[in-house]
């Protein structure tokens, strides 16, 4: 007992929330054997309890994190708990909880209310939390894979659905391919620093970068160059013969490989193509989960890597990121214009959101990071809300994924129509909603970092975005209802929608606490 307690006081604390989730997952797998078909919802209850429990633990950890100077380190510096982890962890747990709430009725209709489903949801969450808390390449990679594998399976969970099969197959093949690329990049990173700890890798790359700068300085004519030449000759004579570019080649290669691997996971153009297909084919709650949680987690990982490992070469890669961001914005918005399937449309829209978030990275200053956190936060809830409305539409005998299915939603269910409107406004970034505040910080950071043209691009893309979001709204509000039945909202769905809409509005109307939260994520 003491051993357990001391473990929990020490290393164990770092992964306590994850452990709880795993335990709950295993518990679900166990009790699933015993419960009757009609009581299967208990799986969901247990899963929800798991997220809440884990969330509670996360909340408790907050004090310990503060007590130990802002960061808890464990497992030989391979995992940490800090504001970043708490923020993202809470976000993952929240999205998992939302998805669980949304899944109950949906999976019942699909007749797939199984323990494995909920267990996989929890395991995916474990993976994501590890992605956020890992500071070791191996931990990160395994966390990513845990999440990814869970998602592959969840996507294909409707085994009788052809589209679900296909989506899962595409997802697993492409996902594994991108993981391979990522792993190749990781291997190079290891080769560059002889360590898998990202702090050490970052330091090694930083040193290399310093040397490159020194060499460049020494090549300049004049006094400063001369001084630097002498310094180098004294410290590291061989460096005088180095070509600075050659020194940076391998970090560059590693960077690009890692970036591609992760951009695939966040579905940035041109690595996005799996997303619409998978969103469409997957069970809708899973689409929501992939859309909100997987993306957020991958961003957490990307942020850790870019800000810790590749920080030294930041000025060189922001243009790369900016290009990807603009491509994502353009392509996402362009493609979304013509979609008729709501899930696909949301997929493309989420691609354009990735563009905005990446622009925050381009800004790169404090505002930009807060903006990313705020944006992701808002994104989770508003996207979850949007998917939730689609899920509410799903009835026996009605798939409810096409725009036409929304027709006259206002007459059929005013409440869901109003909610849908709020989510769409938030997604489009119209104040006073959370989506606007997220965009606000991103734009501000772009201006602060003197990228007015990028900012202009970014704001103008709100316009086509609004067009397709309001196509959804127009279908729901302005068209006459057809034969479609009245959607019935279960209480679980109502709770999920309530939470989503509360956050979407509160974070827009009174952003102060949310701003503090976002700031906390980056250590203030």
């Amino acid at each position: 007992m003491d051993a357990i307690r001391s473990y929990l006081q020490g290393d164990g604390a770092v992964i306590l929330p994850e452990m709880e989730l795993v335990l709950f997952g295993l518990g679900i797998l166990l009790i699933d054997f015993w419960i009757e078909e009609r009581d299967k919802y208990l799986n969901a209850v247990l899963a929800l309890a798991g997220t809440l429990f884990s969330g509670g633990t996360l909340w408790m950890l907050r004090g310990r994190v503060a007590a130990s100077g802002g960061v808890l380190v464990g497992f030989h510096e391979s995992a940490v708990v800090d504001g970043f982890v708490l923020f993202f962890g809470a976000l993952f747990l929240a999205s998992t909880a939302l998805v669980i709430l949304l899944s109950v009725k949906f999976m019942q209709i699909e007749k797939e209310q199984e323990g494995e489903y909920y267990a996989l949801l929890l395991f995916a969450c474990v993976g994501m939390m590890l992605m956020a808390s890992g500071v070791d390449l191996i931990v990160m990679f395994l966390g990513l894979e845990t999440m990814a594998l869970s998602f592959y399976v969840l996507t294909g969970f409707l085994r009788r659905e052809k589209r679900s099969n296909e989506a899962a197959l595409k997802y697993v093949l492409l996902g594994a391919f991108s993981s391979g690329i990522l792993a190749y990049g990781f291997s190079l990173l290891y080769g560059l620093s002889a360590s898998t700890n990202i702090g050490a890798i970052g330091a090694a790359l930083g040193q290399r970068n310093q040397l490159v700068q020194a060499i460049l300085r020494s090549q300049q004519p004049g006094e400063a160059g001369e001084q630097m030449r002498q310094l180098l000759a004294a410290r590291l004579p061989v460096a005088l013969n180095f070509d600075p570019f050659t020194l940076q080649i391998l970090p560059m290669l590693a960077f690009v490989l890692v970036l591609v691997g992760l951009l695939f996971k966040v579905a940035a153009v041109p690595f996005h193509q799996w997303a619409p297909d998978v969103y469409e084919g997957a069970p809708t709650p899973v689409s929501a989960y992939i859309s909100i949680a997987s993306k957020t987690a991958s961003f957490a990982l990307l942020l850790r890597l870019l800000l810790l490992v590749f920080a030294s070469s930041q000025p060189t890669w922001i243009y790369l990121i900016a290009g990807i961001a603009i491509a994502s914005l353009t392509w996402g918005n362009l493609a979304a214009l013509t979609q008729t399937n709501i899930k696909r449309l949301l997929a493309y829209s989420s691609i354009s959101h990735v563009g905005y978030i990446l622009l925050g990275l381009v800004g790169g200053n404090e505002t930009g990071l807060i903006g990313i956190a705020y944006y992701l936060f808002a994104y989770v809830f508003m996207t979850a809300g949007a998917f939730a409305v689609v899920i509410v539409l799903r009835q026996k005998g009605l798939i409810g994924e096409e725009l036409e299915d929304l027709n006259g939603l206002y007459q059929r269910s005013p409440a869901s129509a109003v909610l849908l409107l709020i989510f769409m406004l938030s997604l489009a970034g119209i104040p006073p909603t959370a989506g606007f505040m997220g965009k606000y910080f991103i734009f501000l950071s772009l201006i602060e970092s003197h990228h007015p043209l990028l900012a202009l691009f970014a704001v103008l893309y709100i316009v086509p975005a609004l067009y397709y979001y309001f196509r959804i709204v127009a279908h729901a509000w302005l068209k006459q209802p057809g034969e479609a039945p009245q959607p019935l909202m279960t209480s679980a769905q109502a709770i999920a929608l309530g939470v989503a809409v509360f956050v979407s509005l509160a974070a827009g109307l009174y952003p102060e606490p949310f701003y503090k939260l976002a700031k906390y994520a980056f250590g203030q």
């Binding site: 119209i430 104040p431 201006i447 202009l456 704001v459 067009y467 309001f470 127009a474 102060e512």
Partner: protein
């Protein structure tokens, strides 16, 4: 009472919101209740704004009735309200037209009344908010918030091409406003701030800070704001949303759209764009020339396009392009006459064009068409209507003793002081204005009754009088005794001119030293 005195602007701002919330709880089937509550709060909104007029001190500079509360302290956004004479007039216009617009919907709207009144009231909140905000963040929020109800008003209760018109309206204005957002952010960021202090969104502070910016930066910011306001106004090349939106919107929507919404653009020009004009004379002249050119093109182009319209509402919509061209012309004349005239003309346009849309609404309600060719000879069955319509037309075309003339004349006077050519081109618009409005009037009202359906049209009923007569009275009031209106805007206008065009007051070297002139020289602070 004390509370009211200190929070009068908040009260004005949120009274319609209270109405909207109240309506939320009225069951859907109780249409009569919705109507009554909607109208009640429309009227109440106007009533609570009346004390503003009484308590406002025209002689004081700066903003009055200021209210400040923290909102998002971390980024320096505050809940900061306040008005000067210009915004006072616009707020009054908003509450007044709002009341009338709501009243005009009494029998015109039969579908989804609950939502209709809620949206109209929400729209009121947004518009008043824009005029009373003294914090950029708050301003922007209201600016955008107001788009949504308008979208639905057009989209749900509009006519045939409503979906198209609604989204077009939304996209156009949104395109402008997002660019404005950037400009606001840049203003926010570049404004000097003491180290350690939070930046601020306070409008007076930022505009004062903008004076210290370099000229190129100012120019960029200017165009950023310009784009948004030009779309809203709408100025010439950005006007194509307007005819569609106006045409498809329900009557009340058109009234509000023309009466108030467009003024947000001109208000923005006055409040935000002018202080951002660069100090360098050449640069400034270039900008002003572009803007004036667009205004003049708008005046003439709008008027000419009116001549070929077949749809009454479309015609009136285009006439707005022309009238608003006058407003921008006055603003960018950068002298007290031009500005004062422009502000007054904004009010006038709200009154006249609002009334014109009401008039079309009256016809539409009776005949369900807006095509000019469907009418003719209506003066016979509807003589009283004919009279009011005539007065409104005359007010719109700038007949002396009616409001339009006062505004147009003062604007032309302002423009004339800067460039005689501007005034000359502007006066061409006056000529054309008479042409299209009278032609419209002739085609609709004169001649024998050509259509069977028009023979027995009932004349105005009491409610329609109630919507139109106040506007007519106001039109006469401003036309005959505009002094109180000028008194309200005199101070802010002078302040603006002092800030953006100090040369106006400097250029006082005497070369025409008539003692009589000396005696009537204005005492300027």
């Amino acid at each position: 009472m004390d509370f009211l005195a200190h929070h009068i602007l908040s009260v004005v701002l949120f009274t319609p919101l209270v109405g909207a919330l109240l309506l939320l709880f009225v069951p859907r089937e109780r249409d009569a209740v919705h109507r009554i509550v909607g109208n009640l709060f429309g009227a109440l909104g106007f009533l609570v704004s009346l004390p503003l007029l009484r308590w406002f001190k025209p002689g004081w500079g700066g903003f009055q009735f200021e209210e400040t509360a923290d909102w998002i302290p971390s980024i320096g956004a505050k809940y900061h309200l306040g008005i000067d004479g210009i915004s006072l007039l616009l707020v009054m216009l908003t509450t007044f037209l709002g009341m009338i617009a709501i009243l005009s919907s009494w029998s015109a709207i039969k579908l989804r009344q609950k939502e209709y009144y809620i949206l109209l009231l929400l729209l009121q909140v947004g518009m008043i908010g824009v005029f009373v905000s003294l914090d950029f963040f708050l301003f922007y929020v209201f600016w955008e918030v107001m788009l949504v109800p308008m979208y639905f008003l057009i989209g749900v209760w509009g006519s045939d091409r409503r979906l198209y018109a609604a989204i077009k309206f939304f996209l156009y204005t949104l395109a402008g406003s997002v660019v404005m957002l950037l400009a606001i952010l840049a203003l926010y960021f570049y404004a000097p701030v003491e180290p350690g202090a939070t930046r601020t969104f306070d409008i007076p502070t930022l505009l004062a800070a903008a004076q210290t910016f370099t000229d190129p930066l100012k120019v960029w910011l200017f165009w950023g704001f310009f784009f948004a306001f030009a779309i809203k106004v709408p100025m010439f090349p950005f006007h194509t949303w307007l005819p569609d939106a106006h045409t498809e919107a329900p009557t009340a929507g058109s009234v509000i759209l023309a009466g108030v919404l467009l003024k947000m653009g001109t208000y923005g020009f006055i409040r935000f764009s002018l202080p951002l004009l660069p100090a360098d004379t050449a640069m400034r002249a270039k900008i002003i020339h572009i803007v004036i050119f667009l205004s003049l093109v708008g005046i003439i182009y709008g008027a000419i396009v009116c001549l070929m319209q077949k749809d009454m509402k479309r015609l009136i919509a285009y006439s707005s392009v022309s009238h608003l061209g006058f407003c921008t012309l006055g603003i960018f004349a950068l002298n007290p006459n031009g500005l004062a005239g422009s502000v007054l003309q904004q009010i006038n346009h709200g009154i006249s064009t609002g009334a014109l849309f009401l008039i079309v609404g009256v016809l539409y309600e009776r005949r369900h068409t807006r095509l000019i060719s469907e009418f003719g000879g209506l003066a016979t069955p509807m003589p009283n209507f004919a009279a009011i319509y005539l007065i409104v037309s005359l007010s719109s075309l700038g007949m002396p003793l009616l409001n339009g003339f006062i505004g147009e004349f003062t604007i032309l006077q302002g423009a004339f002081q800067v460039s005689k050519a501007w005034a000359a081109w502007g006066s061409l618009g006056v000529v054309l204005g008479a042409a299209y409005l009278l032609w419209l009037y002739q085609r609709v009202m004169f001649g024998p009754v050509t259509q069977f359906a028009n023979e027995e049209l009932p004349d105005l009923n009491l409610r329609e009088y109630a919507t139109l007569v106040p506007l007519v009275i106001l039109a006469f009031w401003i036309g005959i005794y505009p002094k109180p209106f000028f008194a309200l805007i005199d101070k802010p206008v002078q302040e603006i001119v002092h800030r953006v065009n100090p040369d106006f007051y400097k250029a006082e070297h005497a070369n025409l030293a008539a003692p009589e002139l000396q005696a009537s020289r204005v005492q300027v602070k």
